[in-house]
Point group: C2
Chain length 318, copies 2
């Protein structure tokens, strides 16, 4: 039996896990990231986790195919460098070289959104797909692209940033500095903003009751819950949100024509209420409609396991 190690380098915790050839996590552990520390301190903790896990499972070093790391930020996968991560305040941290020296394993690294997509292809909702795009609807909109079974990162650092392509140029302010990006309309943050705005304009909306009269308590679920009660204001917000998502996914279809488009993030608890209208939307709006390939739109399935499994999936077969 051979093993992969996946490390999910997050802003809050560093999680690591040993993954077997069936893509099951057989043991995992985590430590707080404590950002603000030196890169070396954080990388030493990563190495320590890996060594502890292997010791606990009595796995010999020669049975480890390699270590994969999923990290937020802009990653140079070829040179194994975190080019830039505002979460950690890192610039040009040569994480691959450092950990290869320290651990003696081949290190692989990619952006966490890319890892998530690859993980779903290896072990989740897109198992056996060759081409897959995964959209994570969270604080931002993360895009992960798998082409021919491998992560597509673009030719140089900063590619595959699907959240930072325009939906409405000149529109809502985006975190990247531009106005009108997909992220500025389809993230959970954007949905919460639009929920609050709609409530402000409709003082009788159920949204107010569901957040106890305090709009600071609105979350990404509030508007769906309000819609369930028959609230018209909420229905309009959801309809508009699905329209934005539909437009953004249609763009992705017109560029990548993947086997599947996967969605993840808290909003995805809405399940078929989300995927069915989106499936219809791309059928009606993608280029050449039924003459072109229409991918399935599905919810990602790995959930909390994504980070470790996706990172481990960076390690290829021998």
């Amino acid at each position: 039996m051979k093993y992969r190690v996946g490390i999910d380098l997050g802003g809050t915790n560093i999680k690591a896990g040993i993954v077997n050839e069936a893509y099951k996590i057989i043991r995992e552990a985590s430590v707080p990231t404590l950002t603000g520390r030196s890169p070396e301190a954080i990388m030493d903790d990563m190495a320590g986790l890996v060594e502890m896990l292997l010791l606990d499972e009595k796995i010999e070093k020669e049975d480890v195919l390699g270590v994969g790391i999923g990290s937020p930020g802009m990653i140079d996968a070829v040179h194994k460098i975190v080019v830039y991560s505002n979460n950690f305040g890192w610039e040009n941290v040569a994480i691959g070289a450092y950990l290869e020296k320290k651990l003696g394993f081949v290190i692989h690294i990619s952006n966490d959104a890319n890892c998530a997509a690859l993980g779903e292809v290896k072990a989740g909702a897109a198992r056996n797909a060759k081409n897959c795009v995964m959209i994570t609807l969270g604080t931002g909109v993360g895009g992960g692209v798998v082409v021919n079974g491998r992560i597509f990162e673009g030719g140089h650092a900063g590619g595959a940033e699907l959240g930072h392509t325009t939906l409405i140029a000149g529109g809502e302010q985006c975190t990247c500095g531009r106005k009108g990006c997909f992220e500025a309309y389809a993230s959970a943050t954007a949905l919460i903003r639009d929920t609050k705005r709609a409530a402000m304009e409709n003082e009788k909306s159920m949204i107010w009751r569901l957040c106890g009269g305090d709009l600071n308590l609105v979350n990404g679920k509030t508007v769906f819950d309000a819609m369930q009660t028959g609230d018209e204001t909420a229905r309009k917000v959801v309809k508009q949100y699905l329209h934005y998502l539909g437009e953004g996914i249609t763009n992705i279809v017109n560029i990548f024509r993947p086997d599947k488009v996967l969605l993840s993030g808290g909003v995805c608890n809405q399940g078929k209420n989300l995927t069915e209208p989106l499936q219809n939307y791309i059928a009606q709006n993608s280029f050449a409609k039924e003459k072109g390939w229409l991918p399935e739109v599905e919810i990602a399935t790995l959930g909390d396991l994504t980070g470790i499994l996706g990172a481990a999936a960076l390690v290829e077969e021998e």
Copy 2:
């Protein structure tokens, strides 16, 4: 010496050329396409052109590496099928199988916009680039993408349609059925539309004089000529057009991070007046700005040779 044959299957003419290993066209010929004829009649003409050229140059069949075809429409390059072309009224024409049987050469086929990009990589402005995106600003906006030296078409038919991604969702009507695509703002057609609109709103604009008072005579050059005379109306149209182009190219940068972004089409006669502001635009607007890779924005150089050279470039080394 080995040779490639490139066929540029156009709506008006079928052009074919023999291309040597230095990517020079040593002989070419063309016949009218006469669309409306059966696919077989058109394919027979393609085969006839190829055989005539080889005969004229006294090239033996064993010295031909293969034949490449650039075609408008939606192409299935793997199965060598024209899935759909509204120019020819074709659906699922198995052009590869037909011509392989007829000619005895390996046939390669791709969308003409893709071929154009590959041609520029092999023999034009992006020579030696591994990753390149080419945008053709014509009646529509065609996108050709080269990743790692090969055409990127997406996972299935209908990918790499960069002209059909939103710039302003819900905006100007696009030919694809959606509203607000890049094509609906950045094509020559769109520029002419915006030139006419601006003239309608400004009866003293120089645009009127340059088209002899007949807005039907406005072309993609009119507004640039009017701007040269100091016309304020024209200046605003050009400024807005550059903004649209800048937004669309920024999207491409954020997804593909190519070595170069090339532009082609009549508008490109504006040269540095076009590329310099666009270069500045992506530097200021692409994701992570100077921390990410910033490609050069340049004008394509193959011009009329693109069709044949790009098609020939589909034929790989032995």
